[in-house]
């Protein structure tokens, strides 16, 4: 351990003293990280169908590039903390500057590495999973676009670029959830995800506007410098801005009550669920809070929002974990598990634990991504999502079983796997907070978090036993997945096992230092040593959950599922219907909008707005009629007609002068000549 630390050159002392460099060439060219996937996405769109692997090569190349670059930056950051920000000015609106920037600091580098490594594993896996799919090339184009958009989000140096990345991942999510759009239910799921996110995005936009108007710039550095300097204008609006931004984060990270879209998003292909809805996209909200952390941490600014954050996180982690207990669809179990873990991350952020929350994000990406890929492997073999069609797959799919087991233990928080360390750190942080700013709320949350650890272990044990133990209840002949799918599982399994050692308090706190490489200090608490007491409680609770699960479900999975329904009469329907929240939204929000509100809007449009416009038109027609008949026909035309008729009548009168008689002409001639001469005489 110490040698590993020495190899990476990280000092063992307090993390804040790591000196910051500007990252050199690697950081200057780091703008390629979001750009390469986006460019290759166009490559897939235009050339994908002609390539031998249907465009997958370009996608894999993009993720390989990001993974290598991200890990390289990670190593460099570990030896000397990088803080670099490059930017290109795109436009100016008034005094606001719109830029394209790329940030290379501890937080971004951690995200690059996560997106790159997990993305590489998932893309490799997807080649096997999506084989034979009718929209193979399009899938990888959208998936690569997602990767690019996520990287735009995490590399953004200003709020506008963040919003761009935010919306693009939302678009990618919509496209990919609705990948199997032949079934209308999938379209509905995609629309639900997009709409719930969009509603929460209102908060994001309001927060961005408040901050940008107060600070006068969209750039993170400017905003965080304003916080560090104690800018009073920002301090006055900081609570509302911080709250609004958190609401936006709640949408993307599916916190209660915006969590309803994530379980339905499982309608998408499993690689999508793995990468987007477990490892990366849903973590964007937590990332945003992490990016803006000084706003929430510095006294006088948005500190009170943290209380809301911690409560929301606690509600999410506990309530959704309970729902996972009664799900038959294996992907839904994992989806609710994801919601629960996101609740942990949010609660950690709410407790002022910048490092703990992001560390859990880091480890969760590996083991949850792994769990989804394993689930996909099982679904691919069994051709069904439901655990009631599975069972006994332990011997039929050995590698899938082993990696799923590793992932489940990591998720449950069993020593020494990754989840143990990150979850323990969260518990420690919440406990610290309860002793300081958090007070009683934090104590309650701590209890909920510990209970949640029990529930986590409990439902994961259920999932393992129902899927892999007992007898196979399905009809087909399941077999192990091909290597292109199992190798990524093994890779992620290894990471799930060892990733936790990146941050062992008191022994090796590399992760903390990596994350601390930011231009402004985050000000979060760092534990000096492992809190053995709390770690012990967490581990004990998790083991308790495992044991309870084993007792209930190991022996006979089938009958236990039947007994579940009878055993808890009131609780079971409540959980199975997800606390009736979806029904509440449908009848309370969607119904009124579709019905009365839509009808009212239609009435307003037809009678008020259209009526107003029509009135204008009627007045115009009336006026034009007046002008035409009165002014034009009678006035102007009359003048013209009078002139022409006068000319005609004059002509009529004058024609008698042409009598045809020569003598008359001669008379006129002579008379005229005489008159001319007389005139000449008189006037000269």
């Amino acid at each position: 351990m110490v040698m590993l630390a020495a190899l990476l050159g990280a000092p063992l002392a307090s993390p804040e003293t790591a000196h910051l460099s500007d990252g050199g060439v690697l950081a200057q060219w780091a703008w390629l990280i979001p750009v390469v996937p986006l460019v290759l996405m166009f490559g897939i769109v235009f050339f994908g169908k002609r390539l031998p692997a249907g465009g997958w090569e370009l996608a894999e190349a993009a993720m390989l590039f990001v993974a290598v670059y991200g890990v390289a930056l990670l190593i460099m950051n570990a030896s000397e903390g990088i803080t670099y920000e490059g930017s290109i000015e795109i436009a100016r609106i008034g005094s606001y500057v719109i830029e394209w920037g790329w940030v290379v600091d501890g937080l971004s580098i951690m995200m690059y590495a996560v997106v790159g490594v997990v993305g590489l594993a998932v893309f490799t896996y997807a080649k096997g999973y999506m084989k034979g799919d009718v929209r193979f090339t399009w899938f990888f184009a959208a998936f690569t676009m997602f990767a690019g958009a996520m990287l735009v989000l995490v590399s953004s140096a200003n709020l506008i670029q963040l919003i761009v990345g935010w919306e693009l991942v939302g678009l990618a999510s919509y496209l990919l959830i609705g990948h199997y759009w032949e079934d209308h239910a999938n379209n509905a799921a995609a629309t639900k995800a997009f709409l719930v996110n969009k509603i929460a995005d209102v908060g994001l936009f309001i927060g961005v506007i408040i901050i940008a108007v107060t600070v006068g710039s969209f750039r993170f550095t400017d905003i965080l410098n304003a916080v560090a300097e104690g800018d009073s204008a920002l301090a006055q609006v900081a609570f509302w801005a911080g709250l609004a931004l958190f609401i936006g984060a709640m949408g993307k990270s599916a916190q209660f009550p915006f969590h309803v879209w994530l379980p339905d998003a499982m309608a998408g292909p499993t690689p999508v669920s793995s990468l987007m809805h477990a490892a990366t996209m849903v973590t964007a909200g937590v990332y945003l809070v992490g990016r803006m952390f000084p706003l929430y941490q510095t006294a006088g600014f948005a500190v009170d929002v943290k209380a809301i954050m911690i409560v929301v996180g606690a509600l999410t982690l506990f309530l959704t974990g309970l729902i996972a207990l009664v799900q038959d669809d294996i992907k839904k179990v994992l989806a609710y598990s994801t919601l629960s873990q996101l609740g942990y991350m949010t609660a950690a952020m709410g407790a002022g634990a910048y490092t703990a929350g992001l560390f859990h994000l880091f480890t969760h990406a590996f083991f949850k991504g792994l769990l989804f890929l394993c689930a996909g492997s099982v679904i691919h073999a069994v051709h069904s999502n439901n655990m009631s069609d599975m069972g006994g797959l332990r011997k039929l799919m050995p590698w899938t079983y082993r990696t799923f087991l590793v992932g489940s233990l990591a998720l449950a928080g069993i020593f020494p796997l990754a989840g143990f360390w990150s979850k323990d750190e969260i518990l420690a942080s919440i406990s610290f907070d309860s002793g300081h700013d958090g007070g009683t709320i934090a104590t309650v949350v701590l209890v909920a978090a510990i209970a949640g650890a029990f529930v986590t272990a409990f439902y994961m044990a259920r999932a393992v036993y129902l899927t892999f133990f007992g007898e196979y209840k399905g009809h087909g002949h399941p077999h192990e997945s091909p290597r292109v799918m199992t190798y990524p599982l093994i890779g992620l399994g290894v990471l799930s096992a060892v990733a936790g050692f990146a941050n062992v308090p008191g022994v090796f706190t590399g992760f903390t230092e990596w994350l601390a490489a930011r231009p402004v200090a985050m000000g979060d608490h760092h534990a000096e040593a492992i809190n053995f007491g709390l770690a012990g409680i967490g581990l004990a609770v998790a083991l308790l959950g495992v044991v309870a699960g084993t007792r209930l479900w190991k022996r006979d999975a089938a009958t236990q599922q039947a007994r579940d329904t009878f055993r808890i009469p009131v609780l079971y329907p409540l959980l199975a219907n997800k606390y009736y929240i979806d029904d509440l939204y449908l009848k309370g929000v969607v119904g009124p909008i579709k019905g009365p509100i839509a009808r009212f809007t239609n009435w307003t449009n037809t009678y008020l707005i259209d009526g107003f416009v029509n009135a204008f038109a009627a007045v115009s027609v009336f006026l034009s009629r007046i002008v035409y008949h009165g002014l034009d026909q009678r006035g102007i035309d009359l003048a013209f007609n009078a002139v022409s008729s006068a000319t005609g009548e004059a002509g009529d009168a004058l024609r008698y002068t042409t009598s045809g008689k020569i003598q008359d002409y001669a008379a006129a001639l002579f008379a005229g000549a005489v008159l001319l001469v007389v005139g000449f005489l008189i006037f000269t």
Binding site: Q663, A667, F670, A671, A673, V674, V677, V678
Partner: protein, 173 residues
């Protein structure tokens, strides 16, 4: 100059007589109901003009007037009257328009204008005396004015041919 001074000159008396004759005959030309009478009155007027030319010393012109005008043109007129069977006797057919006063006004206006102008310009300026020699006229005519002379001869030729062409009977072929 006073009228009595003017009339004292014998030539002016002759002039006056000739002028009165001319004017009288001219009036007859334009008012006579007999066409032949009108033509013959023109003869008198032309003769008077010839006399005036003699008084002005233009002998050749005077005799040319007599020869050409009275001798040829009037004869032509009489032939024309004959062919067009104009009424040679006084008859009830009016030779003039019913409304003669516009013409009278015009004529009167013309005379008034011209007389006023000439009187204003040439009040009492005397006419120089002198008779021009025909030989000089001939010299001038064939030297200085030879081209107009030739052109006029062409005019006469054209008139001759034109007259023949116009007046011959229609060829029925």
């Amino acid at each position: 100059m006073e009228f009595t001074d003017w009339i004292a000159d014998a030539r002016n008396v002759v002039f006056l007589v000739i002028a009165v004759a001319m004017i009288g005959s001219a009036v007859m030309v334009v008012t006579s109901r007999n066409v032949i009478h009108a033509a013959l009155m023109l003869v008198v007027a032309l003769a008077g003009a010839a006399a005036l030319f003699l008084m002005l010393g233009a002998e050749f012109v005077a005799w040319t007037v007599v020869l050409v005008y009275i001798g040829a043109v009037i004869v032509l007129f009489l032939f024309g009257i004959m062919i067009t069977r104009a009424p040679t006797k006084t008859d009830s057919v009016r030779l003039d328009h019913k409304r003669r006063w516009p013409a009278a006004i015009v004529a009167l206006g013309t005379f008034a204008t011209m007389a006023t102008v000439t009187t204003m310009a040439f009040e009492d300026i005397p006419m120089p005396d002198g008779v021009s020699r025909t030989g000089d006229l001939g010299d001038v005519l064939f030297s200085r004015f030879v081209i107009p002379f030739e052109v006029v001869s062409f005019v006469l030729l054209a008139a001759l041919i034109g007259g023949i062409v116009l007046a011959r009977k229609d060829q029925e072929s």
